[in-house]
């Protein structure tokens, strides 16, 4: 019996190739895309799960308060916080400080060879007990109790030493105040891709406190409640309820406020599992994802697969007419309803299994591309996970149930006495059900199209915003770390300017396009005459006299620095945002006003038009520019109409000759801005792919449905033609129902999509208005598609000689 079912299913598939193709393609792409998205979501939610203690690990962060409201949230905390909280709260078992060094990079030297290293942290000894990072070489006990100890990851060791076991080797970090000498005491496995705290090298926290060169550069003090550049992680005691800890921690904050006079800030904890998708504070160790985006993509993926199921239901029930006779005969010769249901479910099972296999092929083909687009680690294993196969199995099962059950119920209920006589009509209820499915598909397509149009428009808008900075043809070179070499800047500059294509060179502590978190910040800077405190965070940078023209910034009031400027003159150039925060109504009134910060008085020399320090995604930030003419952060080199890429070799040669012990590191300024759109681009890419497939699947269904409509009404078309209807008349007649459904879908889709789009745009400080055409265009597109699919089929049917189509009936 089962064999017979398979046989007839197979022959039916072969007979109705377009039906089989539409279903197979729809289900397979639906499966493939949803499986890939599920894998992506699984990865995003797997963050920190490699840490055995993940449930007990908590990061403490700082909220800057403006009265009762939170003015700013900062990941970094003060060095004494960890030790104090561990002694005072019984819920806390241990702590480690994690000091991010040399953001974003430091230079290291190994036997007179110079390299650039990123992701370097100074951590306490407890780090190795709290986080899971197994030592491959070295002894764990008291590994970081002493200063000047270092641990490398496996690949860092391999990269710099050409071998993995480097315990006992030495390396140096050259800093402006001297060399930090480090003994390598261990090698650990590389950080997994799914952790927010990835590192290449760790040094012992005591080094921060005792090493002269590090002290000179960073000045970390163990009991300093003033500076906060340290990340603090704590390990809760086993069986401690997180809410209990939160309560105790609130009390702790209160005591801190009273005993230490800690008024402007409070500390809050966050479980490390909640960092990657939920935390967006300043000084995050890496840009984090967004849970809402991840869920959004997951939701869309499920819509795609449901859409594929809908196609199956619609096509299978539209085909009912064809199958009705078979059902009738089978009943006549003795089949029960159950047997028929099983038969149709088996057909659906076959299609779904075939689609599953086809989906695996699709995934195999698109895997590498998807991993790249979704920003997953390159060695991400898709098929290796048991989870993948469980989900695939579940999809097939769901597919059989969702897509197979309804047709099975409908088809098996036909009465042989009527279907065998050809007296067969669809019940109105069934038609209504199928119509709602089509409306659902149209609504989904409208929503997705409008979303994708909005996203594209917004990102295009951001990239075309006037940044207030001219990033063209600008190469930025990092300063050497040692003072002895920095002194040779004037030689470097002269040699660069000897090259005719170099227009000018400017110095600065940071450059636009870098994340603001890489700049230093100070709170409480205010006009001298104002006594009242506020808690705005001001961003500080140093520039020389060439900087403003090189960056193409606009000075709207006052004067630029010049050859007479000197750091001791305590003059600053500020931007409009800073003026606004100080409450100065007119920019021209700002010139000459006095500021107090760092215990002295400074004069406002000029006001810069706001420029985007970060990408146009973020709001303007208040920036204070001090004068400094030493090579400390970056030198920006502006070129005349030449491609700066071709000049890199030459710049490097000059750099190497002037600063022989410093590694050469550079970037193009426009790239720095582009990097900040990476996450949005990624979201846009993944979403575009998804939307593309969703629309493809909906179109397939529409096309199939249109063909069946035409087929079903072939006789009617013939009769109408005999009476004198034109092809256009017939087209209008057949499209009318579909157009009605599109309108209904529009009524459902537009309010939903309006809400989603508005919500999404709120993520951006600078955003587009939701234009009417953003809503109209997708609908026009869908209408076009409907008319197109129906036209093809109708014209085919309509040009047939009516005698033919009437005879066929």
């Amino acid at each position: 019996m089962i064999k017979n079912y398979f046989k007839i299913a197979w022959r039916n598939f072969k007979k109705d190739k377009s039906f089989t193709f539409i279903n197979l393609l729809g289900l397979a792409t639906g499966f493939a895309i949803t499986l890939l998205i599920v894998q992506y979501v699984r990865f995003e939610f797997s963050y920190e799960n490699t840490h055995v203690n993940a449930d007990r690990l908590v990061r403490l962060t700082t909220d800057y308060m403006d009265g009762e409201t939170v003015a700013e949230q900062d990941c970094e905390t003060n060095p004494p916080l960890g030790p104090l909280v561990t002694t005072e709260l019984p819920e806390v078992e241990n702590f480690t400080r994690v000091y991010p060094l040399g953001e974003p990079t430091v230079n290291i030297s190994i036997e007179n060879e110079h390299f650039i290293l990123d992701k370097l942290f100074a951590v306490d000894n407890a780090f190795f007990d709290m986080f899971t990072c197994p030592l491959l070489y070295g002894v764990k006990k008291d590994i970081f109790k002493q200063p000047n100890q270092a641990v490398l990851t496996e690949s860092t060791a391999l990269k710099y030493f050409g071998k993995k076991d480097v315990v006992g080797e030495m390396l140096e970090i050259p800093l402006s105040q001297g060399l930090v000498l480090l003994n390598i005491v261990g090698v650990v496995a590389d950080s997994p891709p799914n952790t927010h705290l990835k590192f290449n090298m760790l040094i012992s926290y005591p080094t921060m406190l005792s090493d002269k060169a590090l002290q000179g550069e960073y000045g970390e003090e163990e009991d300093n409640w003033g500076g906060n550049n340290t990340l603090t992680y704590i390990l809760l005691a086993p069986n401690v309820n997180y809410d209990d800890f939160t309560t105790s921690f609130k009390e702790f904050n209160k005591r801190l406020k009273e005993e230490k006079g800690f008024k402007k800030a409070r500390f809050i904890g966050q479980k490390i599992g909640k960092i990657h998708l939920y935390s967006h504070k300043t000084f995050e160790t890496e840009p984090n994802g967004k849970a809402s985006s991840v869920f959004f993509l997951l939701g869309v993926a499920f819509l795609v697969i449901i859409s594929a199921f809908v196609n199956y239901i619609n096509l299978a029930t539209s085909k009912a007419l064809d199958r009705a006779k078979e059902v009738g005969i089978r009943k006549v010769v003795g089949s029960t309803r159950t047997q028929l249901r099983i038969q149709f479910l088996i057909e659906s099972l076959l299609i779904n299994v075939a689609a599953g296999i086809f989906a695996i092929t699709l995934i195999l083909v698109s895997k590498t591309k998807f991993i790249e687009v979704a920003g997953l680690p390159a060695d991400f294993s898709i098929f290796g996970a048991v989870f993948f196969w469980i989900i695939l199995g579940a999809f097939i099962l769901l597919g059989v149930l969702f897509s197979g059950l309804y047709p099975a119920l409908v088809l098996s209920s036909f009465k042989p006495s009527s279907v065998l006589k050809g007296k067969f009509t669809h019940s109105t209820q069934g038609v209504l059900f199928r119509k709602s499915l089509v409306v659902f598909q149209f609504s989904m397509t409208i929503i997705l199209l409008i979303q994708i149009f909005t996203i594209n428009k917004q990102l295009e808008f951001l990239q075309n915003i006037d940044l207030g900075v001219n990033t063209n043809q600008t190469v930025v070179v990092s300063a050497p770390t040692q003072n002895t070499e920095r002194k040779n800047y004037s030689v470097f500059k002269q040699e660069l300017l000897a090259n005719a294509s170099v227009k000018s060179v400017a110095l600065s502590g940071s450059v636009p396009g870098q994340m603001a978190s890489q700049m230093s910040t100070t709170t409480g800077i205010n006009l001298s005459e104002i006594i009242e405190d506020h808690n705005y965070n001001f961003y500080l940078t140093t520039i020389d006299a060439n900087y403003i023209p090189v960056m193409g910034m606009t000075l709207i009031e006052g004067n630029n620095f010049d050859e007479t400027s000197h750091p001791d003159k305590r003059e600053v150039i500020v931007n409009e945002e800073a003026i606004r925060l100080w409450g100065i109504p007119e920019t021209k009134e700002a010139i000459g006003r006095k500021l107090k910060f760092w215990g002295s008085e400074w004069t406002i020399k000029g006001v810069l038009k706001n420029y985007h320090q970060e990408s146009a995604k973020s709001a303007h930030i208040p920036i204070i520019h001090r004068y400094f003419d030493q090579f400390q952060g970056f030198a920006s080199i502006k070129f005349n109409n030449t491609d700066p890429k071709e000049q890199i070799a030459q710049i490097e040669a000059v750099y190497k000759s002037v600063f022989p012990t410093a590694p050469f590191s550079y970037f193009f300024m426009d790239n720095e801005y582009d990097k900040q759109y990476k996450a949005d681009k990624q979201f846009q890419d993944v979403f575009s792919v998804l939307t593309g497939f969703a629309i493809l699947i909906a179109c397939l269904g529409l096309f199939g449905l249109a063909s069946f409509t035409v087929l079903k009404r072939k006789k009617e078309i013939g009769i109408r033609k005999v009476i004198g209807a034109s092809i256009l008349n017939i087209l209008v007649l057949l499209s009318k129902n579909f157009i009605k459904m599109v309108f209904l879908a529009m009524l459902i889709g537009i309010p939903i999509t309006y809400l989603i789009a508005t919500k999404w745009l709120e993520n951006f400080a600078f955003r587009i208005e939701l234009n009417w055409w953003l809503f109209v265009l997708p609908i026009v597109l869908i209408m076009g598609l409907v008319v197109f699919s129906i036209s093809i089929k109708t014209i085919n049917a309509a040009i047939v000689n009516p005698v033919q189509s009437l005879k066929d009936e």
Binding site: M1, N4, I329, K331, G334, K415
Partner: protein, 225 residues
């Protein structure tokens, strides 16, 4: 074998009710060959559908092999049907996607006959219907006469006690039609009860008894033997 009494059947649409069977009563004995005649719309096919348990009646009694089946549910009716009744239709009603052999085999599958035995039975009946050489063909590759022979083969493969034939020669030319009638007569001679709906006086002459109907009622009943 069959005893119907006051059988009623209505067709209802929103506005009107049509009476298809109006208190129809008659009896059929084992081994009889009955022809049911009458103009279009007189209720012949409705009667056949009810006798074949493909349709419900709206009143009366229907005793099949001594059992009152009027209130049986679909499952029970399907079970009686597959063990006792074979159907032959005017439009043959073969499944296009199955071969001749598979079409004939179908009733045996539903009654749970083992594969080897199915093969034996199907081949025997195909042999008897002289259609064995076409066993691997699909219905659309056969002539009308051949298709109807396959349909008869399918109707008898399960050795039913009753064959219900709905205008079995309606789509056939006279020589093919006669052939089918000969087949039915032969089956009847071997003991199968046959009830046949027909428009053809010629075909009706093959039967033992003709029941003439009009407007859902029996008008005359005349025996030919």
């Amino acid at each position: 074998m069959i005893k119907i009494k006051d059988l009623e059947k209505y067709y209802k649409t929103e506005e009107l009710q049509t009476i298809a069977l109006n208190k129809l009563s008659f009896e059929v004995k084992q081994g009889e060959f009955i022809a049911v005649m009458g103009p279009s719309g007189c209720g012949k096919s409705t009667l056949l559908n009810i006798l074949g348990m493909l349709d419900d009646s709206d009143g009366g009694s229907f005793i099949f092999n001594g059992e009152e089946v009027i209130n049986y549910n679909e499952r029970k009716r399907a079970s009686i049907r597959k063990h006792n009744i074979g159907f032959v239709f005017q439009s043959f009603n073969l499944i296009d996607q199955l071969t001749v052999f598979e079409n004939v085999e179908l009733p045996l599958i539903y009654t749970g006959v083992k594969k080897a035995e199915r093969k034996k039975k199907v081949e025997a009946v195909l042999e008897k219907m002289q259609i064995m050489h076409r066993r691997k063909h699909f219905p659309q590759q056969l002539s009308g006469g051949q298709q109807q022979r396959v349909a008869v083969a399918r109707a008898v493969v399960n050795d039913p006690k009753l064959i219900l034939a709905d205008e079995p020669t309606g789509n056939l030319d006279s020589s093919n039609g006669n052939e089918v009638m000969e087949l039915l007569t032969e089956l009847n001679d071997q003991g199968t009860t046959i009830i046949m709906v027909t428009h053809s006086e010629h075909d009706a002459k093959y039967s033992h008894r003709i029941i003439r109907m009009l407007d859902g009622q029996k008008v005359t009943e005349n025996s030919l033997v």
